[in-house]
Symmetry: C2
Subunit: 703 residues, 2 copies
Amino acid sequence: MKHVTPSAGLDALFRPSSVAILGASDDPTRISGRPLRYLLEGGFKGGIFPVNPNRETVQGVKAYKSLADVPAVPDVALLAVPASLTEQAVRDCIAKGIKGAVIFSAGYAESGEEGLEVQKRIADIARAGGLRLLGPNCLGIFNPQIGFFGTFTQSLDREMPGPGPLGIISQSGAYGSHIAYLARKRGIGINYWITTGNEADIDVAESLEWMAVQPDIKVIMAYVEGVRDGPRFRNALELARRNRKPVVMMKVGRSEIGAKAASSHTASLAGADAIYDAVFAQYGVHRATTTEEQIDVAYACARGVFPKSNKLGVVTLSGGAGVLISDAAERYGLDVAPMPATAQKKLKDLLPFASVENPVDTTAQALNDMNLLARNIEVILDEGGYDAVIGFFSSVPNTRTLSGPLRDAIAKGCSRFPDRLIALSMIGDPEVVAAYEASGFLVFEDSDRAVAALAALVGFSAAFDRSDDAPSIQPAASIGTEALSESAAKALLGAAGIPFLDERVAASAAQAGADADAIGYPVVLKIVSPDIEHKTEIGGVMVGVADRAGVEAGFETLMARAAEHRPDARIEGVLIAPMARKGVETIIGVSRDPVFGPVVMFGIGGVHVEVLKDVVFRLAPFGRAEAVRMIDSIRGRALLSGVRGSAPADVDALADVLVRISEFAAAHHDDIETIDLNPVVVLAVGEGVVALDALVVPRRDLN
Amino acid sequence: MKHVTPSAGLDALFRPSSVAILGASDDPTRISGRPLRYLLEGGFKGGIFPVNPNRETVQGVKAYKSLADVPAVPDVALLAVPASLTEQAVRDCIAKGIKGAVIFSAGYAESGEEGLEVQKRIADIARAGGLRLLGPNCLGIFNPQIGFFGTFTQSLDREMPGPGPLGIISQSGAYGSHIAYLARKRGIGINYWITTGNEADIDVAESLEWMAVQPDIKVIMAYVEGVRDGPRFRNALELARRNRKPVVMMKVGRSEIGAKAASSHTASLAGADAIYDAVFAQYGVHRATTTEEQIDVAYACARGVFPKSNKLGVVTLSGGAGVLISDAAERYGLDVAPMPATAQKKLKDLLPFASVENPVDTTAQALNDMNLLARNIEVILDEGGYDAVIGFFSSVPNTRTLSGPLRDAIAKGCSRFPDRLIALSMIGDPEVVAAYEASGFLVFEDSDRAVAALAALVGFSAAFDRSDDAPSIQPAASIGTEALSESAAKALLGAAGIPFLDERVAASAAQAGADADAIGYPVVLKIVSPDIEHKTEIGGVMVGVADRAGVEAGFETLMARAAEHRPDARIEGVLIAPMARKGVETIIGVSRDPVFGPVVMFGIGGVHVEVLKDVVFRLAPFGRAEAVRMIDSIRGRALLSGVRGSAPADVDALADVLVRISEFAAAHHDDIETIDLNPVVVLAVGEGVVALDALVVPRRDLN
């Protein structure tokens, strides 16, 4: 996959040196008055040019009758005008030479066909004129570093956000405002905030791409309902990953899984939301389930410290809390590994009454000697081998006498280890929390949320450190649009490296007998026809045929059945194949997502796929490491490791097949609708994988 | 199950009219000084009698040289003395005629064998003397209604909790203090708080039982690490359920699943924690995963309003939040059912720009006319048929101008519907939240937490309204301690109503042939021996035997194999059975939990049980409705509904079998260790269930 260098197209919008406000109102409480109010309150240092034909000044700032009258060329125009005046305003912006315009007004694509037409026309005009558009139907953009607030969001009413490590991108203005408010409340500053609304031009993918290369962003929060430009979105996520910028994503619409109409078995499992899960897994994006989780993870990311391992140290004043944190650690995949024996002995010498294995329960008695507590923490960090430690201190930080001494003791214990992440589960009033944070600790009231956030950081760390082998895509001739027979499908995929059984197609009974002799008995016979997809339904399959006579008779039987049930079908002969060998039956499929293109599905066969929906998706193409992660992520993974004494399955060979099918699907990006390999039998380790059946449906030929 | 009337034994401890403090210190910051300080600060109106041989007064209160000197008989004594003086103090309490003593000091069962011995001796002394004990190694007890604070918990340092609808029971003093602190912070008052520590006498079960019948408790929060008295715990939970008192439980130790040694297949799946899940499901307890969730649910319960259905109305200012809440609703099992068409029309007339189906997205424009918003909410409540409604208002309540008007508008819309639960997802400073709560709304910052809490209330409502048919337990003769053969096991369970195949045991080849003729061919042959558990391993099973000659020959073959492989085994003959019929293979088992007694397990056969651990447990006995809930709660439930065109399975008959095995297990409470019915084939609807194999292991005869 090629990685596009992000456009500089958003530079002017995020860092304008001057701003025009078309339709600026003198009333700072009105939608059309708020942007100017926020620019003034935010201390924007660049030029501010209100345009209002009816006033000399607006909110005390000199106003202009028209954009043409403005005595400079502003970088950005905020269009606080009704929808009916927007088209003309866009033309005026182009005439003036403005780089970017923000359209606040609604009434476009979201309101129906007519609005969509107008929106398209405006976008066309802007594109032709070299003007970038944000919106329409958006809440705008801001950058507190330079006091630029190109927004009318009500959420700035009480307080403006300060600058900081966060970049926020939201398709919903309300949600973008909501998380900006929560971020400020949590003490996380924001350097860039953008709401993309109807995305007539600038979309969430371009915004992500832009933020992924900004050196002054440490974490990106995004809210997405649906992506328009799949390839660009992937490219943006990969850029972010390579630049070690965590993306904390809220993608809504999970409950609409399955709403999408689907044309094949594989595709029917590929609800759009499952595809997003695949994309996020593939690029190391953290998908938050709740807003609180999204804020928590972003808060933890803002330190820029990502634990290299999943080993978690736990220090607690209460045994119960230690168990609670251990339970949570298991749930989130962190390892509460025991302290080395020598370190345990040191701790026991310090605090004879403590549990020292991990969790280290100092009991509340540790508060009687803060030096001992500090030393205890130091030993844990020095000898425990933990990249991250959680301390549980309940409401002690909020007590009058112990708050400061406790904070100092923890800080002293940690002072030699600035590379470690220390999260405290504690209750404190806002000023207490701020003081603890200033000492270098992450603070969470709830211990579970602390564990969840640390686990997310471990996930980012692993994703950032990946150096996967790249998949290789060979240019491939089109497969055309005609339906493929099973044997043609197998030939096609076999050439691409997918292993099938030694199968032969015979056109006569005598040839069938000779083929079976060559393959060895027993064999399976199947009718071969591009027109018959479900062969068993017409009795077109015979298994366990034991000798040449049976094969020759079977040939005639199958031909007769085909002629009887499907006289119209084109018959290419009878397939002769060896009997299947024992192994774990899996399913591999490819479908086309309208946004992201070819998607590979993998699942364990039978009820696992059909009833339990235990399947996993990845965008094609992907490399071997991703294929292994894909296999490892299904719930029934243990079935491949050998159950009840059966041999472990050849997962390496399975991963190879997944890589190859993904490369094939990517090479045929435009001409394949679906592929079903079902079943794909995974044999014992060293014996490989064999696909027993193949269905390839070219694009534009869906029945 | 008999329901014990709870003892009044805790009345004196929770509502003492006077209190002695043995070892009371004049220093109010010391552990031994804090209880007196808290009693004074709490305004306890009863008698307070500090006992301190060295002082005339303690913290300004007249002190006594010894308990004997106290000029009254206090109800309760707080023992703030070292462990070494505790035994004598207990004797003194008995001599004085005190009803209950609280032992704060540690160094007993939790410190090892020696401490356990001392603890037992003190408990024996107390029991013989009619003195109830709380602790040792506990943080005590409090009741803010009367200012009684028999505790030294540090968490009261800054502020005392006020009275309210909450009862808190915790085995951990630190965790009990932690949640009491959080409850106060959340504005929920506490009427009773007890920490049970080492539970030498008073345990969590008795405390629950006591709280379950207090009219001034609306919700019980509990923290449990392990229960000592299973039957009493069950009785307490059932009392709470019948009295419509929600129990919000934190049970820690989930990650130790499987640590328990187990002697049979069924038992090895019955990790102790899974048994707690079963108990909680059975008695309608809400098991919280996180502390935050525990507080959230208790907070929501404190209103005492429990929605009768799972239909959820959603009002939002933002479409994105509406999708987010819909996603969460699906996750938690709530139904965002659409508004009736007539009501949708009314809403559309009110707010033409709104989405009106449900979620009702008024958009932020609704804030321009609060009367319209109020009317909108009124229509939703009046015509939507929702018992619970969530409103999403982001940070609007925290704006200077809109906070009050918004609150009034929502209250106006809700005023005719005091029986509905209204939860608001909103951001507000503490005083803003308090004002909204005072208007009758539940307030959650995060919408997901609001949905989760409402879903918990729906769960309580359903549990409270259950009127299950009671299981019937017949007195049963002991099955002895000798191992049972398969046929004996089947006879025993067959008599208890478990359906098996028409099977016969033949002692000769000729008898085998005659039996097979009577049953009909083909048949299965199995060796019958109480000494051979795994028959297939010695080739002791033959399937699909087609005629009399085969049966007679097979008889001899099986006898020969048994003689060869297990010459020592007692052979009772050969079992003749019809071939199994097709259906869904399930597993039913019984194991003995050391705390709760017989436990019934159910799972779908094969990998579902072994790899996916898709099994569910219930304490025996239970009725039909519980059996149905049990079946419905497994992940693979869809397999019983007919997959890929197969007929739906006879779930009614399956439920009957579960009830019968639970009744059998309860009747044999003391003499059965495990039962395995594997497989139990569930046939098509109307055709019943048939168990193919049975293993019964009596107690005290484990191999």
